[in-house]
Amino acid sequence: MTTLINILVQGVLLGALYALFAMGQSLVFGVMRLTNIAHGDFIVLLVFVLFALTAMAHLPLMAALVLLVAIAFAAGYALQYVLLNRVSSRDPLPSLMVTFGLSIVIQNVLQELFSADPRAIATGGFESQGVLLPGGINVGYLPLLTLLATVAVTFALQWLFGRTALGRAFRATSDDRETVQLVGVSHRRTYALAMAIAFVLIAVAAALYATRTAVSPSDGPALLLYAFEAVIIGGMGSFWGTFLGGMALGVAQQAGFYFDPGWGIWLGHVMFLAVLVARPQGLLPKTA
């Protein structure tokens, strides 16, 4: 019984990280139907930006985090406005090609600049602290912080989409990007804002991820896979769906790890395929 609870608890905590990876992808897909192949590499890129700010420029961690979020917002806006808006169309192929190319460029530039060594963000031992619950269940502060951040991000996105003028503009642009211009919404600016917000989410994910484990320049595609799986399990374009998708993936992996340390990732993929077969539209399809 304790084992089962432990698998669930650790799975949810791991899943929170995957859900956080996936949230930016979910937003970008929900607003502009863009499948971003470089999503995982953007996470890795921002990990290295944070690494450069803390370990090389020697900024205090808090200052570096604030700076990272600001850099991410500007970079996301510029990337979409200058580059990706040119390839956004009903045809999904051009944007797939461009983000695929970006993925390769980012991996190689990072290897050139930082070598292939894995890097982590030093937090002075915070990542190894935790609280021991009755029954021998160990809950780390960092995974707990990740879960809180993911819940907060999901609530914030749901509020942004459902309750604000910007959220209405996001949904309307997703519906019909010609007609939104008639009410004064520039679909190019809306897309750029969506990507900027997605990059802020990526920055949060990058900071928490790099605190948890060491990251190397070529890790992006694996992160993309987890993000993809979480989005698709949850249902395209629904934030609570993405949240649940991440949790499902985390619990499945954790269950696999329990049976055999080599089974964790595999069982996650098996669960993903099972969902595709049984419920291809995802757990909670459609944006609220």
Partner: protein
Amino acid sequence: MTTLLQTQGLTAGYGDFQALFGIDVAVGAGEVIALIGANGAGKSTFLKAIAGLLRAAPGQVIYKGAPIGSLPAARIVGKGIALVPEGRRLFPSLSVEENLQLGAYCGRPGRWNLETVLELFPALRERRHHPATALSGGQQQMVAIGRALMSNPELLMCDELSLGLAPVVVREIYAALPAIVADGMSAIIVEQDVRLARQVSSRFYCFQEGRVSLEGESASASDEAITQAYFGVQA
């Protein structure tokens, strides 16, 4: 009467296909004009070109004395020109109320807000939390008009309000028009029903194959002249 909007030799098209060949139309402040003509004559293209969905040369569209022909659509609505697009084009992910609220996105002040639009179309009030596309065709058209009004335009352009609606519903929709233009708003009405178009307008332009084939006073024009301008053949 001062001229609010004027087009001078307006040309527009879709890619290699040219749909308008030098259109001269003028709309005075507070004036309602009608555009009539057969399918494919270029009426909708004309409205899209003014709204900025199709680019024209700057000087081809003069609004309040300033050239606006090359502005993007998202900026033109902020200047006071709103289009009720053909086929309504409501946002299915948004409720009725949200569709209306989005109409106010450009933030122009004026007498139209959520409350005054719901007073104009009381039928929408009890259904305002429904998805916009769950409404009947007539009510959807009211939402589309309301969404355009929410930007507090000085020039309202309506493209085929009657499309796909029962005659009794069409009469209901057009009955709201006098109240809408009562405070001096100008309007361009595109309408297939020539009789209806002439009833609600003071002047009309008849389009034929991308050119203006006839213009005149709505009340005094002869049916024979309109028939000829409409079909381009001797009746």
